[in-house]
Each structure stands twice: as C-alpha cells, then as structure tokens.
Symmetry: C2
Subunit: 383 residues, 2 copies
C-alpha cells in the first residue's frame, strides 16, 4: 500500500498493490500529502550503442558541424573503443532506470562496415534487462542506405534477428536520393509489417518535401500510425502556414514527431502540431557519445529542455513536455500495459514535487522507482 500519493492529475489516493498491479485506488487515510507519483518515464529516442558512459572522458572529434562530419568522427571514436557497446549500453540502462525510465526506443547503428555488430550488442543488453525495462529497437542506417551499399539487406536481416522497426536518415541530406532511400526502408518495413522511425535533420522547405514524401509512402504501404519522424527541425524553420499544412499531412498519415529539444537547431512548433492532431513525443537522443558531450538520459531533464526551448512557462504548457515523456511516448511505442489505473502495472516514479508543472520545471529528485510493485531504484541508486 502506498499511502496518500498525489497523482499527476492532482488527485490523492491510497494505492493498494497486489501481484505487481494496482488493485485499488482508495481515499487517502492520512491528511498530509506523502509522495508525488508519476507513471514510468518513456524515452522515445535513445542510442544505447553510441554512448561512452563509464569510459574516461572522450573529447568530441568532429571536424565540422555537419551531420556527415559527426558520422565520420564517430567511426574514429568507435575504432578506439576499449570497452564494448554491451557494457556502455548497460551503464546507460542502469543510469536511466534510476531516473525513472522503464521503457525506451533505441536506435542501433547499422552500415556495411559495422554490419549487425551493434544490433547484437543491444539485443544482449535487452535480454539482460528484460525484467526491468522495455527496449524497442530501431535498425538505424547511420551511414545512409545508398551511400553504404548493402545496408538495405542488413536492415532486412536486423528485423529478422529481432529489431522492431526500420530506421532512416535524411534521404536527401545524406543519401541524395529521396526515392531510393524511401524505397529501401519502406520496402523492408512493408515486407515485415513493422514500423518506421526516420531521423530527419534536413531543414527548410527541403525537409518539408521529404516529410510529404514520407507521408505518401506511409499511406501507400498501409503503415498509418506506425511511422515517426525524429527531430523534424524543418517544421520550425519554415513559415507557420507551411508548417500547419504539413502538420495536416502528417496527422492524416498518423506520423508522430519526436523532439529532444535541440540546443541550436530549430524546434518543431509543438502546440501547433498537437492542435493539428499530430502526436509529439520526447527522447534523449545523444548521451555523452561521439555526437554530443551533453545528455544524461533523465527524461524529466529532457522535458525541461523541451519546455525551455519551446518557451513554455504556464502550467498548461508544461503539461505537454510531461506528456511527451510519458503517455504520448507510450502511445507511439504501442505500450499496451502502461499508465496509472486500477488493474494497471504498479510501476511508479516517486518525485519530490507538489505539482506536475514543478516536475518539469524543477526536475526534482527521484525518491524511488517501482516496477511491478518492487522498488528497483532508490535515491538515484539501483536496488
């Protein structure tokens, strides 16, 4: 029994737990609020195979600021790794669990040099932590599909070996072949009946053109509701009327948009997207890896960054980044067993806060994290 818990909607209950599930929500028997509870945090976009967490500090080595420069720098860093992705990925899973994340979608690099090596590493991490966290895997062609011949077959093999979705990357910016890239990735997705999650950094009208093409493919392949575009910086760099028309197209195709609250790139206009019926969700993206020195995998930290970048200040505005790292991300990941309700899983994150807005703005300390009625982390330390 958890006594006098305040739930995200502000209601207070004594929560009865039985067999790892919420058996009942009863009127509180004490008068003082005891604990503020959130459902588990959901990371809609992480790169478990990229992180260098646990290694000595590795300075960023990219020669320039382009995506292609960072891809090249990552090859160098990878070649000099002294610790396997299995170990660093495990370090990251343990860290995020202590902050309250119990579900995540991880992209995993695949190209014609790496093959399925990173996939195998993250499949092993998933297996190791299967009782603790849900890890959905995206087979991610980090070096492109056209520029890295043979990658399409590897994506196909990856799905066969256990990846859940097909990824993609800037069809124009990296592969310089919009149709060729989309042919390849939607071909694999259609063959296996799996979803697609495409990294799209390309900005401006060029980025919008690619979104429209992705929407056409989504409708043509019957993948409505199973496709996401990650980053989608372009939506924040074009005039509002074009962003609004694109939002209608995305909504019609059931395409969700992931934002990590980028530091310098333009933010997709989140309230506009929601108003037009587009699902928006949050993710960490890079966490102390060859791409970025920043990031810690804490999804309340991430919600704060998203809200800060979006200029949200009112409580009703701060509710959106909260949803992006909880229920909205859960919907995109098709998590069937999610949320605080009678019969639902006894999965909770206890935070030091008074209101939902405060959990986003102040990134409060996590007192404990519960999974199926069992405390799995306390005060930032794994149980």
């Amino acid at each position: 029994m958890i006594r006098n818990a305040t739930l995200p909607d502000g209601s207070r209950h004594d929560i009865e737990i039985a067999d790892g599930r919420i058996a009942a929500l009863r009127p509180p028997t004490t008068s003082e609020p005891a604990v503020f509870l959130l459902p588990p945090l959901v990371d809609g976009h992480i790169h478990l195979d990229k992180t260098l967490l646990g290694l000595p500090w590795v300075p960023n080595q990219a020669a320039g600021n382009a995506v292609a420069d960072r891809i090249e720098a990552e090859r160098k860093v990878r070649a000099n790794r002294t610790v396997s992705e299995t170990e660093t990925g495990a370090n990251l899973v343990k860290q995020v669990v202590t902050s309250g994340t119990l579900h995540m979608r991880s992209h995993v690099d695949i190209d014609n040099q790496l093959g399925l090596k990173n996939l195998h590493a993250i499949l092993a991490v998933r297996e190791r932590f299967r009782d603790l966290v849900t890890i959905q895997i995206v087979a991610f062609p980090q070096s492109g599909v056209i520029r890295s011949p043979g990658t399409a077959d590897l994506l196909d093999a990856a799905i066969a070996e256990g990846a859940d979705l097909v990824g993609g990357l800037d069809p124009v910016g990296i592969d310089r072949d919009l149709d060729g890239h989309l042919d390849a990735i939607f071909g694999v997705a259609e063959k296996h009946g799996v979803g697609v999650d495409i990294h799209l950094h390309d900005g401006g009208e060029g980025g919008i053109t690619q979104m429209n093409a992705i929407a056409r493919r989504t409708r043509a392949t019957g993948l409505k509701g199973k496709v996401a575009i990650s980053h989608a910086f372009a939506l924040g760099s074009v005039p509002t009327d074009l962003a609004a028309r694109t939002a209608d197209t995305l909504a019609e195709a059931g395409i969700a948009i992931m934002s990590h609250g980028p530091g310098a790139a333009t933010m997709p206009p989140l309230p506009l997207l929601r108003a037009h019926g587009v699902e928006v969700f949050g993710g960490s993206d890079n966490i102390r890896d060859a791409w970025s020195p920043f990031g810690n995998g804490d999804m309340l930290d991430r919600a704060m960054l998203i809200g800060y970048r979006a200029n949200f200040r009112h409580d009703h505005e701060l509710a959106l980044p909260y949803e992006m790292v909880t229920s909205a991300a859960a919907r995109v990941l098709s998590l069937a067993d999610y949320g605080i309700r009678i019969g639902g899983p006894a999965d909770f994150v206890a935070v030091e806060a008074e209101t939902l807005a405060e959990t986003v703005a102040a990134r409060p300390r996590r007192k404990w994290v519960m999974k199926a009625g069992r405390i799995v982390a306390r005060d930032g330390v794994l149980a």
Copy 2:
C-alpha cells in the same frame, strides 16, 4: 592540506592551506587523482528579490509573451506574496552556495510603487550572508524610468543606500525613449561614479541601435570597463557582419555582455564576441519566479545550457561557458580576491569530474564547497 587535487587546467597538486588562503601548491604525494577542484562559481545576473523559492508552487500568470505582460503579472504575484523577499532571497542564497556559487550580481526591482522595499530586503540578505557570499546589487528599474515617473530619483537614493550599480531596461521596448532612459540611468551612474548593467531584450536592428547608443554614453561618461548589457538577444538576430561591427563598438567601450543561455530567444554569438575582444559572462536570470518556472541557480547547470544553446561540443568550446561562470564573471564583477593561485583565497568547489569539459557537459555532483579554508556545504547541504 587537500591531497592530489586536479585543477581546471589539468595540473595536479597537494594544496596547502593556511589562514584561509592557499599557502602552497606542491607536487602530489599520492598517485591517484583524488578530487577535481574549481574556483567558486560566479553568478553574473540573478534576481534575489524575485524568486519564490520555498513557497508552494506558483503558476505563471502572464497574459502574453511580451516583457510588459510579465512585468504586469509580477505585480499580481507580488501582491499575493505570503512570505517576504528577505526569506525567499535567503532560500536562494543558501541553495546557490550548496552548488558552489560564492559571488553574485543581483538586480533588485525598483519602481514608483515598490520604492526601495526590495532593495532593503536584499540589503538585509547581503548583510546576513556577508561572511559567506559576495552580493553586488544593481538598482534595477523593472518598470522603466520614463513609464514609472520618480524612478530616477529612487535609483539615485538606492545607490546612496548601498546598491553598487545602476540598472536599465529596454530603453525603446519599455520606455519608448532611448535618450530619456539613458540620460536618467547614466546621469545617476556618473553622479556616483558607479557602473551600469542594462537589461536589453529588444532584438534586431532596433536592439543594435540601442547598443550603439549605450556605447556612446559609456565613452562620454568615462565608464569604460564598468558597463554591461544583459541578454543582448539582438546580437544573435542580425546578420553576422552587423554583429561583428557592433562587437567592435562594444569592445572599444569596454562593455561586457551577459547571457543566460535563453530558451527561445536568440543567443548572442559568443565566440564572435570573444574574438572581437568583448568580455562575455554568465548569469542565472530568473529562478522560479513570476517570470519563469525554470532555473535553480546552479551555475554549472547554466554553463551547460549556454553551451547547449551555442552548439558547443568540443572541449575547447566548452571552456568558454566555464569561463563565463568563473573567471570572466569575476572580472566583470571586479572581484579582486578570486582564483586558484598561491596567496589566493582557499575557496574551492569539489566536483565529481575528470576534465573541465565534463564539468560543463555533465553538471557533476558537488562533493563540497570551501570558503576561506572552511567547508561551507557538503553533498548539496549547507554546513
């Protein structure tokens, strides 16, 4: 004696402390690095009188997104305060000390309704914590000088009562009178021989025009090296050549630029400013007040936000936000007794990090904070 401390430049020493000062830096006697030390963090822009820290959560109440809307909302929040600024200001000082800040410049609201009430509150806070922290006070005309008649006389009185600098606020955006505003604030500064620190949110070429006018006043009043412009969003919203020419003008007048790493507003181009000889420094700005729900006063958190917004990823880039919250801010605040050197104060922040870049990117836990050879905070708790 602090054994085998790593200093920000990567060197390792045993540090001998005597009478609250660094008596000697000796070769380390142990082989394992024991602790990474920073000099005290410096907050170049805080609002000790605005924070609501320690009060129950207060939702943001601004009707719109303009500076004028937020000024109006703050009046309402202030009218409903149940706890004095002396208490909330003290809460904030205690919180920032635990994160390693021992020096700060606080703006304090002054207008014809408030009078010197907030100044008196923060003077009391300064007196209370005088042995722990340095608090420099800016007499800040939050409601304008022209729009709030009588404010110029109040600024004059504030300096006489102990404020250290004269503030200012968007001469055009708020007062709609560039010359009138600058006449008033530079008049008070010149009379008392004190510095000036002006909030300038106005963007675009209009903001640049105001910077040029501030530079002319600075030269005319002999205040070179004693003037700062806070925010200076305009520098990030004009073409690079205009920003570069303005940087030359600012450098010639010895005007420093403060950035807090804004969420949605444009960032001043920090590397360009530095390359043109402009001093740039960091500050928290709003911390859980009527303006913003965000902020916690942690200057490593702030350095991270500045670096993230500026798209810094390389170690040499991350050194700039570090300097902005340490030595550069110390220079702007004219702190004579600052920095890790033989004979300098035994003031340190011990962090869990391996490199300087990591202290910015990862915002590591503060193990302890030392002031004049005495531990004043440990593990986030005031001693």
